[in-house]
Structure formats: structure tokens, C-alpha cells
Amino acid sequence: MRDIKMEDYDMLVKINDERDIVVARQMVKDFAKRMGFSLADITKISTAVSELARNIFRYAGSGFIYIRENTGEEKEIEIAAVDKGPGIENVEAAVEAGFTTSKGSLGLGLSGVRRLMDSFFIESEVNRGTVVIVTKRRRTF
């Protein structure tokens, strides 16, 4: 499993409670706004974080959302959602649209996140947890 270290990131949100989903998406929204993303991209990024935070809360109970700004040729935002929950047995199926293990769900969480972001990485081990890392580039027009 990929090792995520706090010191490599700019911001951390602990997901422990249902209300932390709202906290996480608001904090990411402010972070993306400060980085100069367009309103459409800010909405996509915050919505993706809302899905990731909900997955942590629903399936693992608790976990962390890490956020950082990557500078290079193009600025990008990187978000890592990490938990030590039950893990995902079939990762390929879990990222397909319509896959869900819970009722009251469209199964569009992970597939939606993948569609909203530019890059999507997932690693999961049963009984050890799940790491999802996504990025989005800031487009300059």
C-alpha cells in the first residue's frame, strides 16, 4: 500500500463523522479557489471530495483526506483519500458506474470521481484499507 505522509501535504481533514463530509468539501472548495481554479472546476473538485469523504465514512468509518498543490509546468491540485477500512475486494468493479454494495446509492461515487478529475489512482487491500489519489490541472486560458 502506498504510504501517505502528512508532511508531504498542505492540508488534512479527518473524516470521523457524517458532518465531516461537508467540512471536507468546503475546505477543498476554498483551497481550489485560492489556487485559481475556474468555478466549474472548483465545483467538480469539491463534488469529487464529497464522494471520497462519504466513501470513507460509509465503508471505513473514519479516515483522512489530504490535499496539496503540485507545482510544475502546470499547477495541479492533488487529493488523497486514505482509510484503514475493510478494503475493496474487486477494485475494477468498484470504479464501474452503477456498482454499489449499499442501498440508497446510485453507485456513481468512484466512477463519478474518475470522470470529474484528470487522474485517478486507487489501491485497496482487503482488511487493510484503501487509498484513492486524484489530481486536476489548473487550466489557464
Binding site: R25, K29, T47, G104, G112
Partner: protein
């Protein structure tokens, strides 16, 4: 009623719900219960949910809204969502969210006229 989470306005047989709070999972569930019980208590024929202040709608919240509309339909009531911000619509469409059972409108005025039309056809 003790479980009220959103303000509602009754206009004729319609219930207008301007959502002015941040929707988390339990709030959206409480809102669903509130709307359904108000439909019954006040003999509502149409619900208008104004989402113009909402800047993040994720898959679960849109699922709950759609579920509310289907439940309302079973109680003989149509549901219109109005005022969705363009970047929210863009995000939901890109995620592949399909909100079944809901009529969409641009603003309150459009919502009211669509409700009247829906009642005429049913």
C-alpha cells in the same frame, strides 16, 4: 413539527422549498421526511425545491432528491427542482447522474407554470 430542517411556503396547493442550508446526508434525509409529511398534512399537489443557493450537489444528495420525487409522485404530487446553477448541472451530467422522477425548471415562475401543466396532463 420538531423535525423541520427547511423553511417551506405553502402557496395554493403547492409547497415551495427554498433550500438555504448546507445539505449533508442526515439533513437531506430529514428534509425528505419533512416534505413527505407536509404533502400529507397540507394536501399538497406539487412541490418546488429551489436549489439556486446550492453550490455542491453530489451523487447521494441528488439520489435522495430523486427518491423524494418518486415518493411524492406515489402520494399524487409532482416535484419540480428549479434554479440549478450551471456548474452544478455540468458536474452532475459529467458524473452520469440521472435524476428520475423530477421536473426541472429555470426559476420559481417557470416551476409554477410547469407544475400547472403537469397537473393538466395527469
Amino acid at each position: 413539527m420538531k423535525d423541520r430542517v427547511v423553511t417551506t411556503i405553502k402557496l395554493y396547493n403547492y409547497l415551495i422549498v427554498p433550500v438555504q442550508i448546507e445539505l449533508d446526508d442526515s439533513t437531506v434525509e430529514a428534509m425528505q421526511r419533512q416534505i413527505l409529511s407536509e404533502i400529507e398534512e397540507k394536501a399538497i399537489e406539487g412541490v418546488i425545491i429551489d436549489v439556486s443557493l446550492i453550490d455542491i450537489l453530489d451523487s447521494y444528495i441528488s439520489y435522495s432528491l430523486s427518491e423524494t420525487a418518486i415518493m411524492a409522485k406515489m402520494m399524487g404530487c409532482d416535484t419540480v427542482i428549479c434554479g440549478m446553477q450551471p456548474h452544478v448541472a455540468l458536474t452532475l451530467a459529467q458524473m452520469g447522474v440521472n435524476m428520475r422522477g423530477i421536473i426541472f425548471a429555470q426559476d420559481l415562475e417557470d416551476a409554477l407554470s410547469k407544475l400547472v401543466k403537469a397537473r393538466e396532463h395527469s
